[in-house]
């Protein structure tokens, strides 16, 4: 294997941006504070390619769409995901649809970055996992890594991709460290999930911060003699159905874990996948352990409650091993389960 360097997710993102800007002169970085935050990139690539923008998400995203269709590869930082609501027309109606409606006349090689998730006690107008909205919208790709290596490799892939990619960063991961390959040509293909831990008894699927939650749950399950397979989706769209189905067909048990609301979320999609394409292999009900269908509170005490905990994942998995029905709502931690949150 090639050499690696230990770094944080935040450093991995910076490296990916730098490498791709070096590699391709059409790559452009824009956002509210992008130039302030990336002084070094301004220095190396000039103010034309690294821009602070006016505080106006709609025109930032729209400009990215127009530029992408005209020979540039813009990366726009939209800061916190809920601010993307201002950019929704540009992303959903323009970037996602105009290639199709024009009969393939245009390509939109752009990346729109956003922060999601709990950890900073900033409340629902900053903390909202709305990635599934973009999965539901046509013509877009959605990426949401969990390790520094994947952040680097997938951001590089997203910048090189000829389609619009939504790149979400779970802010709780920003300063998490990991080994990242040094090779310039290190790229992680969009659309491939990773088996973060192999196991034959139950499949735990997560993405972003819940991959760690599932891995901890797998440790706890191992202590009970249960071998859990943990899948890190990495890309939400296109979804790596094969990897998920292969695992579910092997284990017959599926627990999907994410922080976003489960209602029409990825957990719904994966449960549907199992129920439609791996039904005959399923030995127990699918379990969704997700954030509640509610805005996220700021209060630290309440914010803590919305992220699924390893204990709850392990408990749910054990329930499936015992082939008990999914337990009824009402227990202390149940408000974290969509079954109860709806």
């Amino acid at each position: 294997m090639s050499k690696t360097t230990r770094m944080t997710v935040e450093q991995a993102i910076r490296q990916a941006l730098r490498e791709e800007m070096l590699r391709d002169p059409t790559v452009l970085l824009m956002g509210e504070g992008s130039a302030t935050k990336h002084r070094d990139l301004v220095g190396d690539f000039g103010p034309e390619r690294v821009r602070n923008t006016p505080l106006a998400e709609a025109i930032i995203a729209g400009t990215a769409v127009g530029a992408a269709a005209s020979g540039l590869r813009p990366v726009v930082d939209l800061l916190f995901a809920p601010f993307m609501t201002y950019a929704m027309d540009a992303l959903v109606n323009s970037a996602g649809k105009l290639r199709y409606l024009s009969g393939g006349q245009f390509e939109f090689p752009l990346v729109a970055m956003g922060l999601t998730g709990s950890g900073w006690c900033v409340g629902a107008q900053h903390n909202h996992n709305l990635e599934a909205m973009f999965v539901h919208a046509p013509g877009l790709k959605v990426v949401m890594p969990s390790t520094p290596a994947d952040f680097k490799g997938l951001l590089k892939a997203a910048i090189r991709d000829d389609d619009p990619v939504l790149f979400f960063t779970d802010l709780a991961l920003l300063y998490q460290e990991g080994e990242v390959p040094d090779a310039d040509d290190f790229v992680v293909p969009i659309g491939r999930a990773a088996v973060a831990r192999a196991g034959g008894d139950v499949t735990l699927v997560g993405y972003a911060k819940t991959v760690g939650v599932c891995l901890q749950a797998a440790e706890q399950l191992a202590a009970h003699g249960v071998a859990a397979e943990v899948i890190d989706l990495r890309s939400l769209k296109p979804l790596d159905e094969e990897t998920v189905l292969r695992s579910v067909r092997k284990t017959g048990r599926l627990v999907v874990v994410h922080e976003a609301s489960g209602l029409c979320g990825m957990a719904a999609e994966l449960a549907a996948l199992a129920a439609t394409k791996a039904f005959s292999s399923l030995r127990a009900p699918v379990v969704r352990l997700t954030g509640p269908d509610a805005p996220t509170p700021s209060s630290w005490m309440l914010e803590q409650q919305v992220v699924p905990r390893p204990e709850a994942v392990a408990e749910a998995a054990l329930g499936l091993m015992a082939d008990q029905p999914v337990r009824a709502p009402g227990r202390e931690e149940d408000h974290r389960m969509v079954e109860n949150a709806v």
Binding site: T26, L28, E48, T53, P54, A56, A58, I59, A61, G62, T63, A64, V65, G66, A67, A68, A69, S70, G71, L72, P74, D89, A90, N93, S94, L98, R99, Y100, L101, S102, G103, G104, Q105, F106, E107, P109, P138, G139, K141, D161, D162, D163
Partner: protein
Amino acid sequence: MQSTPRSPLARLETMLLIRAYEQQLVALQQNGAPGTCTSVGQEACAVGVVDALDARDRILTNHRSAGHLIARGAAPERLMAEVLGRVDGYCGGRSGSLHISARELGVVLTSTIVGGELSMAPGVALAHKMGRGAPGGIVAVFFGDGAACEGIFHEALNLAVHWALPLLFVCENNQWQAFVHRLETMADPAIGEWARGHGLPVRSVDGNDAEAVHAAATEAVAHIRATGSPYFLELRTYRQRGHYEPDDQAYVDKAELQAWLQRDPIRVQGERLIGAGAIDAPGVAALERQAQERVEAALAFAQASPWPAAETLLDHVYA
């Protein structure tokens, strides 16, 4: 693409073609084809501005695009095929009438989302500024008085001015925003004042006078090429027909409509040219017949064009 520079007579000819084409669409709709948003009465805006552009330049337009496309040299055959949803349309039938782009003509990223053109135009202009387009090329974005009410109008102006983008804003103020009169949505005057607040050159001209529009647009384009910075044109005109076909216009003030019909842009241009001896009435009639014949040929072509195959439904979703 249209050959430039073109003469006032050529502009009359083009306006007649646009008119004949859209009248044909009206008839088609009455026979069950999809409705369209016609630009009848606004032809002078289209030819006046588009004739001031050249091959280096790019155009963004919206749901009311027939004039801009034909002035740019689009083939009525392929436009009509697109409206009918056939494979020979500029977008293979996927667009229909509402978002026709013709990249080969430099008409790009047409959006039927009001304001969509304004959200993307600065990006196209930025690419030109950063050397991705033809050297010296500029971008013209056509939008309506209604689009000026959308927040994106403000955001686009601020970005274009602050980033000094080679962008020509062309507001076709046709007094109507679907079924709502402009005066029900904004002060009077408003649009020019809003633009002036952004500190770019703003000019408001008679949108029913093709030569006045052309002169203003020529000056605007020269300014943009010289300075690299944006310019704002407001063209005062009128939507003679309904918002789309069919539309009984029951909500339209008949007197206002009549007053504007008196100043129909084709009539204005025709009388000007006849007055100048450049053509006579029979000559104009001949041009009208010519346009009509062209459009009938286009219709035959479009109707003969095949439907897209069902298996192609998922083509072009991704690169």
